[in-house]
């Protein structure tokens, strides 16, 4: 497959095949066996163009690492990432730079994502400068237009990050991500650091620019209420693996995997609708360490329905209902 191939509408925007990311752990002494954290352990999915693909999970599930690996901001130790059908896993130098122009990121923390010593206008212009897009005057004009687009005054370009509120900084972060006219934007918990009233403002802005720029979003979040409204398709991750992947409405109305069901039941304020009973007492405790992973299903230690088979054999992600993938022996025996 070559990169010059014309993208057909049926071709996914992004395809991830068996993606793996491992972090070596520091050994206590040279006699120890080298330990490895399996942050992402064999993850596969495809994202249709102009859709929003949600990755949900708790901390340590590998959702952010997956998103960074798609963007080649985190080195993958295995697997492939395809953008418009072209393999970008091993690109370096100018080719990688060209791909980076097409994929940008919006971070969770609007405080650490802007350089405190740089005027925000320069921060938004940085991708243009680095990629050599346009003349100096054109870049300034682009930046001014982007500021207006995200709801800031172009005059505010001369200010420094600490002079803005969290919501305004996130607007700047969005303008920065848009500067190079990307096709894919990875949103890593884009509103979870913001105040509740501001979250909706930012989400509505992201919705508008998606339509304006024809973006494909990878939306990483732990906020299920947001994900339900924003994402077209959702993957639920647990300890580096996808345990369930489905269309949004299928996932929220007919969750299959015990972990997904527990997640939904744990959302506070749902007990009055009779969901509270779903939260099994055995979901007590924390996930096991991603270093010493148990054989079999990773969720088995917290799963109320675990069977002997779950402790020995790892379930594969299989299609039960059409387009509804679940990795569970109970659901797909």
């Amino acid at each position: 497959m070559t990169g010059s191939e014309i993208a057909t509408p049926s071709l996914p925007k992004i395809e991830v095949c068996d993606l793996r990311v491992e972090f070596p752990l520091r050994r206590r002494s040279f006699l120890d066996k080298p330990a490895v954290v399996h942050a992402v352990d064999g993850v596969s999915f495809a994202i249709r163009r102009n859709t929003v693909f949600g990755i949900v999970g708790e901390s340590g599930s590998g959702k952010t690492t997956t998103a960074l690996a798609i963007m080649r901001l985190q080195a993958a130790t295995g697997g492939r990432v395809l953008l418009d059908g072209a393999d970008i896993t091993d690109l370096t130098g100018d080719a990688l730079r060209a791909v980076r122009r097409r994929m940008q990121i919006i971070f969770q923390d609007p405080y650490s994502s802007l350089n405190p010593r740089r005027r925000v206008g320069a921060a938004v212009r940085e991708p243009l400068d680095l990629m050599g897009i346009g003349t100096s005057a054109e870049r300034e004009e682009t930046v001014a237009r982007l500021f207006a687009r995200v709801g800031l005054s172009p005059a505010q370009r001369a200010l420094f990050p600490h002079q803005f509120s969290g919501g305004q900084r996130q607007r700047i972060g969005i303008a920065r991500a848009l500067a190079s006219q990307p096709e894919v934007v990875v949103c890593d918990e884009p509103v979870s650091a913001l105040d509740v009233a501001v979250q909706a403002q930012i989400l509505n802005l992201m919705r508008e620019i998606r339509d304006d720029f024809g973006l494909t979003y990878v939306f990483v979040s732990h906020n299920l209420g947001v994900v339900q409204r924003v994402c077209d398709e959702i993957a639920v991750m647990y300890l580096g693996r996808i345990v369930e992947r489905a269309d949004r409405n299928a996932l929220f109305t007919r969750p299959q995997h015990p972990y997904t069901r527990a997640l939904l039941a744990a959302v506070p304020g749902r007990q009055e609708a009779g969901h509270r009973a779903e939260l099994p007492a055995t979901l007590a405790g924390d996930p096991p360490s991603p270093v010493d992973l148990p054989p079999g299903c990773r969720f088995a230690s917290r799963c109320p329905y675990a069977m002997p088979r779950c402790l020995s054999e790892e379930p594969a992600l299989r299609e039960g209902a059409p387009q509804h993938f679940v990795a569970c022996h109970l659901v797909n025996p």
Partner: protein, 328 residues
Amino acid sequence: MQDPVLKVDGLSVTFRSSLAILDDVSLEVRRGQTLGIVGESGCGKSMTALAIMRLMPSAALKVSGGDIRLNGENLLALDEEAMRAIRGSRAAMIFQDPMTSLNPLFTVGNQVGESIRKNRQIDRAEARQITVDLLKAVGLPDPERHLDYYPHQLSGGKRQRVMIAMAIAGNPDVLIADEPTTALDVTVQAQIFQVLRDMQAASGTAIVLITHDMGAISEMADRVAVMYAGRVVEEGPADEILAAPRHPYTRGLVSCIPRVSDEAFDGWPELPVIPGTVPDLDKRGAGCHFAPRCPLADDRCAARRPPVLQDGERRCACWYGMAGGPAA
């Protein structure tokens, strides 16, 4: 009717004696009950908690009016030494970030033991036994083993359990929980809420739960106080307020938070918003502070402070509140 355990009446706090951070805040919570305080950051939720504990973060902050009564005793009249005796025994507090709230250099057993020995004259062995009981009560599995752990060896959820154990060691009359689960995962959050409910059922401790999460309020709180820009704008039974909010700010808060729903969605719906942000301290006018963001606001709202209208168990500070404006 039973007297409230904690009664805050007309509390005002000023910054550099001119800017009002808290403006005539009145709250109360009864034994065995939970009062939720909600609002955006900058609304004065945490400041209310710190004022109750008399832990003002800066000397520029001063209580300029009102009183705080714990079982009838005015905390504002106490000297610092008497107040210190109350903190950790009759009034305790837990914070959002359990990592920075625990001393990284001491073991769990050491820290919980210290908080017990601060209030009771007992020896180490006894303290150790009580510590184990406390850790068991907050649902820490295998408590003996955890005694010798250091905070960094615990997950966030376990650290918050240890914090709760330390807070309830003195068997407090009131426990103030400032965003206790914000830093935690949702399944862990559910566990922590369960611990707090069990603890409350066993001891009758009154809880003040500060949060920005309406879901947490509906799950935990008997009553809720909605704060905006240093004032309580609406207060009353939590289920009534969540079901039928009267203040436009409460209505906005309830509607702009996307909660998991049973309906099916198509595409990306536009979310209802509260436009703008909480005004800075020095930009709060004489009238209703919410007026600049309020869909109902008129000249009267901007010019004059709205009256607090009482209706049975509920009160609301809005020129339109009790009239019941357009539903959310």
